[in-house]
Amino acid sequence: MSALEVVSLSAPERRRKRGIITMGILGAFALAVFGLLPKSGEPVTYSFVLGNEWIFVKEWIVNSKTGSLCFSIVSLLAVLLASLQFKARKTSRFATGLFGTTFLMSFLCWAAAGKFIPFTGLLQGALLLSVPLIFGAMAGVLSERSGVINIAIEGQLLAGAFMSGVIASLTQNTWAGLIIAPFAGMAIAWLLAVFAIKYGIDQVVLGFVLNVLVIGLTGFLYKKLLIPYQSTWNAGGTFTPIEIPVLAKIPVIGPIFFAQSIIVYLMYVVVIVIHVALFKSKWGLRTRSVGEHPTAAESVGIDVNRVRFRNVLIAGAVAGLGGAFFTLGAVGAFSKEMTAGKGFIALAALIFGRWSPLGAVAAALIFGFADNLQGVLTITGTPIPSEFMLMAPYIATIIAVSGFVGRVRAPAADGIPYKRGGGSH
């Protein structure tokens, strides 16, 4: 490649090129370390049956060395495809997806040599772990697309988890807990909205402080009320999974997507509604316009701060609902700081997904998958210490943010307070 050609590449193209090079290096690494390095292979058993779904393939047994070799070669072919598409100036989303899948499978074959991997269970657990991330990322989309940075996702999740657990316990009714959760998130969002929009306080700082406030408050109340009076204050139940007839019977897909609790189904609804509304409705157009160019939006009669206020409140409600998953969707009882930084990971998913609803969902699913893969492999035992497995999603995020995503562009007016009459500064 001549120097002239390199210079003529635009910035996003350079970044894409760097992404493809990164993929190539990773693919070659997989081929060498997972495929060629092990002296001999051991059988890996993938099981595809989880419950009472129709059985299509029960399990698949493959030699670890053969599996790793094949998958890594396919991943390198995907890189080749991506570079060809890049030269032809076409998008290479499919090739990137193929690369990601085959690279992971290559790794999985190597890491699980001689072991049993419950494949459907792995994916089902991955979806469950990404539920709060998806809710959190959707909250981020709602508020940041309208121009208000939402670092307080963690606090909104935690508030939702706390209130839903407590109310479900006090009323002995999980539905009451579920209904209160959005309001808990909204209360935190209201603080964010008042201080950020009305008083124009720095939003990153504010969101951060709100997180500390919620962590402190819930921790305080947890020790003061929930531990001593556990049977009344912290004994809420969980929702039982609802199997959707027929759909739940589909092999692999059924148990993963259609045998879940009500909160997961609500999540599907929330994601679809946000995606459609953001790009197809009047509300969506207004949201995006106040997030990108508030002065122009106001000139056509949109009340910028009103739109922002409303969006931040809806965002809080969505995050609060996601918080309910920690208690009502998973373990029932609240515990101190049970969101454990998930709000920040949701934030990373939001940025990773470039502020688009579906992109953020994809990123959240990847994080959930990595998290669960680590859990499964820790139980079955791997050549890698479990701490390094735990690190992997975070390192992957850093690589992704610096290699693939590069200079991401947030909504242009994100984080900038707006004063009426074009006074954004």
Binding site: V205, L206, V212, F388
Partner: protein, 383 residues
């Protein structure tokens, strides 16, 4: 003018104490039991909150019980305040410096851990003369944490990866790395299976300031010196001018010929080194042995400290002293009045919230003409 500068923070602090006091009183079973008798309920509420705050004061500043034989011994709790404040000053400076250059360093936690690892490792591995050993341990901490922080700046300068995301991720990486390290033979204490590093040798420990009885140590002096150096750097040096210029307006600075990339990298290196110094002070000054929880909540606290201190070195020192006192006193409060330590977090958050929202405090106290200029403004995602 000087007194007016302190008016707003003081009122914010009082307001935060008042709101938290309500929280303490009206979650108390004895107070709630009196709900049919409003007058005695109010008096009980006041005494409950009062007891908690009295314990907070006794644990952080002055304890009359200790003063019975000799008056000055009543001030022993101040020593604990200094111990708690020293790492807070350093991590707070780390966040404050980054703020001034327009960077939001959420990674003080990870950098703190990196520093603690460096200091601990040098501290227990080598046998060296007294002063030299401590200096080398501190240098190791500065280097480890500096690289850990500088990497973030380099990544931002080279690829545009946002420092908020990268530092959040690196905090997790550092935490898990520490967990792994504590399980390796090099860091496992002889005869122990739990994740606990060996104690650093006597020669590497920081000397006590007021005799062996009190834990206050030389780490506090290190923190003050660091604050002075950062003050000089920001206000008197060419580099500091560049940092502030980039923080105020990155594109204008670039036009003026300042290398933003170099500023970003070097600021994050120094910020990392400061947080790592905090880790070193914690390990060499008071903890001596590293556990998996050595990072505590220093990353979070550092940010509230920097915010309360309005990102100035002097402000950071005072904010860290205040929060150090809350932390030290909070332990006494928890043990003697069964008020959870988490109350301290609530107070911290409220103080910062009220200070960040001067309009609110002014409205509550009906103030006019109070200096309330906002000094901290992060850059959002596109900055």
């Amino acid at each position: 003018m000087k007194s007016k500068k302190l008016l707003l923070p003081s009122l914010s602090f009082l307001l935060a104490l008042f709101v938290s006091g309500l929280l303490v009183a009206f979650t108390d079973a004895q107070v709630l039991a009196l709900k049919n008798n409003p007058l005695s309920m109010i008096s009980k509420a006041i005494s409950t909150a009062g007891n908690a705050y009295w314990a907070l004061f006794r644990g952080s500043i002055f304890d009359p019980q200790l003063a019975e034989s000799r008056f000055w011994e009543g001030f022993y709790p101040l020593s604990e305040t200094l111990v708690a404040a020293s790492p807070l000053i350093l991590t707070g400076l780390s966040v404050a410096l980054a703020f001034r250059a327009g960077l939001f360093n959420i990674g003080a936690q990870g950098q703190f851990i990196a520093g603690a690892i460096g200091a601990s490792w040098v501290g227990f591995t080598f046998e060296l003369p007294v002063v030299l050993h401590a200096i080398l341990a501190i240098l190791a901490a500065l280097l480890f944490a500096g690289i850990y922080g500088g990497f973030v700046g380099l990544l931002k300068a080279r690829t545009g990866a946002h420092e908020v995301i990268v530092t959040i991720m690196l905090n997790y990486v550092a935490g898990y790395f520490l967990l792994w390290l504590l399980g390796t033979t090099a860091f496992l204490r002889l005869g122990r299976q739990d994740p606990l590093a060996p104690e650093v040798r006597e020669s590497a420990r920081l000397p006590h300031l007021f005799g062996p009885e009190l834990r206050a140590n030389f780490g506090f002096i290190i923190a003050l010196v660091a604050a002075a150096v950062i003050w000089w750097l920001l206000n008197r040096s060419t580099w500091g001018f560049r940092y502030r210029a980039v923080g105020a307006n990155a594109s204008a600075s670039r036009t003026a010929g300042i290398s933003v990339a170099r500023v970003t990298t070097s600021v994050m290196f120094i910020a990392g080194a400061l947080a790592g110094l905090g880790g070193a002070v914690q390990v060499l000054g008071s903890e001596y042995a590293m556990t998996s929880g050595i990072g505590g909540s220093f990353g979070f606290d550092a940010i509230t400290v920097a915010l309360l201190g309005r990102a100035t070195p002097v402000g950071t020192v005072f904010a860290a002293l205040l929060f150090g006192a809350l932390r030290a006193g909070g332990l006494t409060m928890q043990s003697s009045t069964e008020t959870p330590l988490d109350l301290v977090l609530v107070i911290q958050a409220l103080v910062v919230l009220f200070i960040a929202a001067p309009a609110l405090v002014k409205a509550i106290f009906r103030l006019r003409n109070v200096d309330s200029s906002q000094t901290i403004a992060s850059k959002g995602w596109n900055g």
